[in-house]
């Protein structure tokens, strides 16, 4: 259970750069995906849920506890590599360490590593792995160890097509809640069609869609009649409609392309 209420996160106390702007989001026995261009605040959103960035305003509750005060809550996990850098050891040693700290079984992680056919990473130190290998390691850690809320940051980044399928299968079969952030539409449409979909632009969140709606979603300048959701950006208000509108989300291969197109339109 995840409840985010009016969350505000600012970086750089002097300049007060607002990275997350009044985010409200609830996840109950669900898996949801947040998409948006690079630098829109998606990763910061996950870090705020993990309590890794200071929360300026609002609150984040995980399984009924405020993240500011939460302790020993083993049901929350993430694929962010930085949370597994407690000691400078091999991947295998880190798996056993975190299994011990989470009172979980390391064999589950090792089995998943074997399934993805990356046993060779076990002897390496995490920071020496390629981006794709780091993601696989993080994903496997997040989707194991008795976790019931997995926070996945770009889980397919740098991973080849064959292993993407295996990771997607693990994500689908995960017995718990997931918040997944990505900027890739193609992988979503391929594996996660029934997931609730949220857009994050300039630290603001808009929802009300499913991944399967992506081919029918349009982005518009200003508030288009019949819009489902809207976000106020530095370009003005952007609204989202279904079936008709100004710029189709499928008119580009990824979110950056669409955003560029809308920016160009503006």
């Amino acid at each position: 259970m995840l409840e985010v209420e009016n969350l505000v996160v600012e970086y750089n106390a002097k300049e007060r750069k607002r990275v997350l702007d009044n985010i409200t989001f609830t996840l109950s026995k669900q898996k949801a995906v947040v998409v948006g261009p690079n630098g829109s605040g998606k990763s910061t959103f996950l870090k705020a849920i993990l309590g890794l960035v200071p929360i300026k305003e609002g609150r984040v509750m995980v399984f009924g506890n405020n993240v500011k005060n939460v302790k020993n809550e083993v049901r929350v996990s993430s694929n962010l590599l930085e949370v597994y850098e407690l000691v400078n050891l091999s991947v295998k040693d880190i798996i056993f360490l975190y299994a011990d700290l989470k009172r979980a079984n390391a064999d589950e992680v090792l089995t998943k590593i074997k399934e993805v056919e990356v046993e060779s990473i076990l002897k390496s130190k995490p920071w020496r792995l390629s981006t794709g290998q780091q993601k696989i390691f993080g994903n496997v850690m997040a989707l194991s160890m008795n976790s019931k809320l997995a926070l996945l940051d770009e889980p397919f980044e740098g991973i080849d097509q064959v292993r993407r399928k295996k990771i997607a299968q693990m994500i689908q079969e995960f017995d718990g809640e997931i918040v997944m952030v990505t900027h890739e539409f193609d992988v979503l449409l391929k594996y996660f069609k029934d997931w609730p979909l949220y857009f994050m632009i300039e630290g603001k969140l808009a929802g009300g869609f499913r991944v399967s709606d992506i081919p029918r979603i349009y982005m518009n300048r200003e508030e288009k009649p019949g819009y489902i959701s809207k976000i106020n950006t530095r370009y003005g208000t952007l609204s989202f409609t279904l079936n008709e509108g100004e710029v189709s989300l499928t008119s580009a291969t990824n979110w950056e392309g669409i955003f560029e197109k809308i920016s160009g339109e503006l």
């Binding site: 890794l52 939460v70 929350v76 930085e82 000691v87 989470k102």
Partner: protein
């Protein structure tokens, strides 16, 4: 989790390189360069050997402080995570860090004692063994606790209040202070008060006592004149006091540890 911390420390090539190999250079310098003019006397040989051993081992252990400082720096995001989302508690984390440091400190002290014994026995043509090996190991463990708590204090202060841009330089403070106080005691004459209050000189004094079996000297300028000595009990109490104080402050600072961008520290 002290086993994993110990494994990580023991597998650090930097720690072995700077903590043992580089210190051997100074050990030989003491034995064959700085020993010129040392009077031919068994008592003086032992005092001279004990003095160099005590300085070398404090330099060796200060590299442990540097390694611990970097360990904390690189785990600045994982520490808040594991305290929130695993069963690890802050006390257990600090305890594991200290126990693993003690194991490494104990081992390094033993290695330095054996190396000193070998090199200086060869130099003076007879066996110069440490008089109290158990005390030596105990001081090694206690000194490593001090170095670890000092390194933790420096790093958490930087992360929480001063930013991490100069983190590379700050982490070397234990080594710099060890050189400063160590060589000041050998080549200069520090007041007794400084020798008691400075934890670096406390470590040097206690290692001297463990190797020589006699009270630590106020000045090593003239090891043949051993009339001016320090009380090792006061040095021990001072070192314990410093370690306890830093440990309490460390716990408070780690409780408030900010997650920081590692990139900021790399942009030096």
């Amino acid at each position: 989790m002290f086993k994993q911390f110990t494994k990580a420390l023991m597998s650090s090539p930097q720690l072995w390189g700077w903590g043992i190999l580089f210190t051997i250079f100074w050990l030989f310098m003491g034995a064959y360069f700085f020993s010129r003019g040392v009077p031919d006397s068994n008592n003086v040989d032992l005092a001279f050997t004990s003095a160099w051993f005590s300085i070398m081992v404090v330099l060796s252990l200060s590299t442990l402080g540097i390694t611990v400082a970097f360990t904390i720096y690189y785990s600045t995001r994982s520490i808040p995570y594991v305290l929130k989302y695993t069963k690890l508690t802050l006390n257990k984390y600090v305890e594991s860090l200290l126990v693993s440091s003690m194991i490494v400190g104990l081992l390094f002290s033993a290695i330095m004692a054996l190396l000193t014994m070998g090199v200086y026995s060869f130099r003076f043509d007879y066996v110069l063994m440490p008089k109290d090996f158990e005390l030596l190991l105990g001081i090694g463990a206690l000194s490593s606790v001090f170095m670890t708590t000092l390194a933790t204090l420096l790093m958490t202060t930087m992360i929480n209040y001063l930013g991490t841009k100069n983190v590379q330089y700050i982490s070397f403070i234990p080594l710099i202070l060890s050189y400063l106080f160590g060589f000041s005691q050998i080549f200069g004459q520090l007041p007794s008060l400084v020798l008691y209050v400075s934890p670096f000189n406390d470590i040097i004094s206690l290692f001297y006592t463990s190797y020589s079996g006699s009270s630590p000297l106020i000045s090593y300028q003239s090891v043949s004149n051993q009339s001016s000595t320090l009380n090792p009990v006061i040095s021990l109490l001072s070192l314990i006091g410093w370690s306890l104080l830093l440990c309490v402050v460390d716990l408070l600072l780690l409780k408030r540890l900010k997650s920081t961008s590692l990139e900021e520290g790399r942009m030096v």
